[in-house]
Amino acid sequence: MLYREAGDFKTNYVADSQTFPIKFDRYGYYFLLGFAFLVMPLIINDYWANSIVVPFLIYTIAALGLNILIGYCGQLSLGTGAFMAVGAYASYKLMTAFPELNIVFVVVFAGIVTAAVGVLFGLPSLRIKGFYLAVATLAAQFFLIWLFTRQPWFYNYSPTGMISAPQRELFGVAVTGPRASAVAMYMFCLCFLVSLAWLARNLTRGTLGRQWMAIRDMDIAAEIIGVNPLMAKLTAFAVSSFFVGIAGALLFTVYLGAAEAGEAFGIDKSFLVLFMVIIGGLGSIFGAFAGAAFLIIGPVLLKLLLVNTLGWPTDLAAHLEIMIIGALILGFLILEPHGIAALWRTIKEKLRLWPFPY
């Protein structure tokens, strides 16, 4: 009976179009935010930060970005891994060329560089769509990774071909490099995620978001009612790549510390983020969170269950883990093709009427 719209009347259009129209949702959201900012820093430790929490935050950013492109604008991309690499290598070049530059700016500039590269590789979308576009982005994936592994300028001619992130501090606390604490890494990524999720929400609720969706749903009609397809698609590529680039920069600087493009940002990463978006729910901000949670937390929990609780050998568990996650993805898509977000919506709709089914 708590979960109600009734009695919660909207008296103006701003209130009617807010993010969480139902009070209960709003309070739930404030609670989560409070928990993430106030409680988590106290209880987080190295193990949880490294195995679950930090990768979850970073991949959610990537999933938000890809969701804008695929879920909102309907442009299929398989180049996410490479765009993350662009963010990573851009942040590396910036950090080494301008050691004084604040790490926040490094990450944001890396996002901007990636946005520019994304627009460049988004140009084919003006001509081709669907699978053909996917193939074009796949070409981008291989080309960019080739560039980063074969052109020594990108890794500053280091003999190993790897890039590694020097220590950078924010308010006197190390957030990158080997001495960065779990709390610092967590808070740094959390701030980025929350700001970016807020930006994504704003961009998708307004006229730009509607133009993206119009292109997604029916591009010809969209153009006839006034959507400039060039602008709509390229802004989607830019914003999406900006997010993905920031995710790549964070993954490299904060989480991995050292990386090699082919290994850290290969095609498997493209698919990982794509799965997150599809499982979470296309065209939903919440879906990006849900999809990333499912694919980051799921395997860890499974491993804990198989290895620690059931005592299975690690390598067997690793294989099984992949199979189980794969089966879960398949089963899930068959049961609810529109992802976790749609499942959640259905539950909420039922809940709104509960306990009276009509």
Partner: protein, 274 residues
């Protein structure tokens, strides 16, 4: 209501004011490969009038609307709009000049709510840039609110308040047609193009739609170009009618003139039609 040249206009029997020429289609020929869809057709559209285009299936009516809205480009002929020859433009640029339309096969954005569909129709009235929208402060929020208020007026006008938040995909056919009209009206067009807005509707829905079209024209003075197969509707609604057959124009005039035109009668008797 814009650009009415009073000296060039006239009053209709029911007291509406028809202005000067808004758009002139001059010697339009459109071919698809070997198929000639439109053959050397000329006619004009006056400000404030309801201009019907009728003709049997495949006559080229939809193709004509597609030319007006810039989706097709004729091989020959010119479109004169507001007194100037229109250069070749993309459809979205043409829509920006105040031309909105509905489609014969409903072309709504199925993944969006009714409200979002109609709001999309107002995109030319929203100028906030990417960064203003991203932070959702000041201009972006203000614009959204103002335009929402306009859209609510249209929602009230078309009596679709109850489905505002419904995903379009869940609506029945008749309501979809109405939402499509709402989306076109949201643009506050100078010229409104309607491609068979009543096709497939029952009598009651048709009556509603007729009333909406007349009211729009009455209240906002919107120039309307209407393709319709139902002759009763056409005769009731329109000020002037163009009759097409096999891509040619075979009649042009008031409903009465057209009804008594020999060639029109022959075309309509000779060809099986609705």
């Amino acid at each position: 209501m814009r650009d009415i040249q009073a000296d060039d206009g006239y009053m209709t029997a029911d007291g509406r004011k028809i202005g000067g020429v808004a758009m002139e289609l001059r010697n339009i020929t459109l071919r698809f490969g070997g198929v000639v869809a439109i053959k050397d057709i000329s006619f004009d559209i006056r400000w404030g009038e309801i201009r019907a285009i009728i003709g049997p299936n495949g006559a080229g009516k939809s193709s004509m609307l597609n030319i007006i809205s810039g989706f097709y480009h004729p091989q020959e002929g010119d479109v004169i709009y507001k007194g100037f020859k229109r250069p070749r433009m993309r459809p979205y640029e043409i829509s920006r000049q105040g031309i909105a339309r509905t489609f014969q096969n409903i072309a709504l954005f199925e993944g969006m709510s009714v409200l979002d569909n109609i709001m999309t129709g107002r995109l030319h009235h929203m100028k906030a840039n990417l960064f203003q929208q991203a932070i959702w402060w000041g201009k972006a929020q203000r614009e959204e609110e103002e335009n929402r208020a306009q859209v609510e007026k249209i929602i009230d006008f078309l009596e679709i308040q109850h489905i505002r938040k419904t995903p379009v995909a869940r609506l029945p056919y008749g309501l979809k047609k109405r939402v499509e009209l709402a989306r076109a009206l949201a643009a506050e067009p100078a010229i409104l193009l309607l491609d068979e807005p009543m096709a497939g509707m029952n009598v009651e829905e048709k009556e509603d739609m007729c009333r909406f079209i007349l009211d729009v024209n009455d209240e906002f003075g919107t120039t309307t170009v209407l393709i319709e197969h139902d002759m009763g509707v056409v005769m009731d609604l329109s000020d002037r009618v163009v009759v097409m057959d096999y891509g040619r124009k075979i009649g042009d005039g008031t409903p009465d003139e057209v009804r008594n035109n020999d060639e029109v009668i022959k075309a309509y008797l000779g060809v099986a039609h609705e």
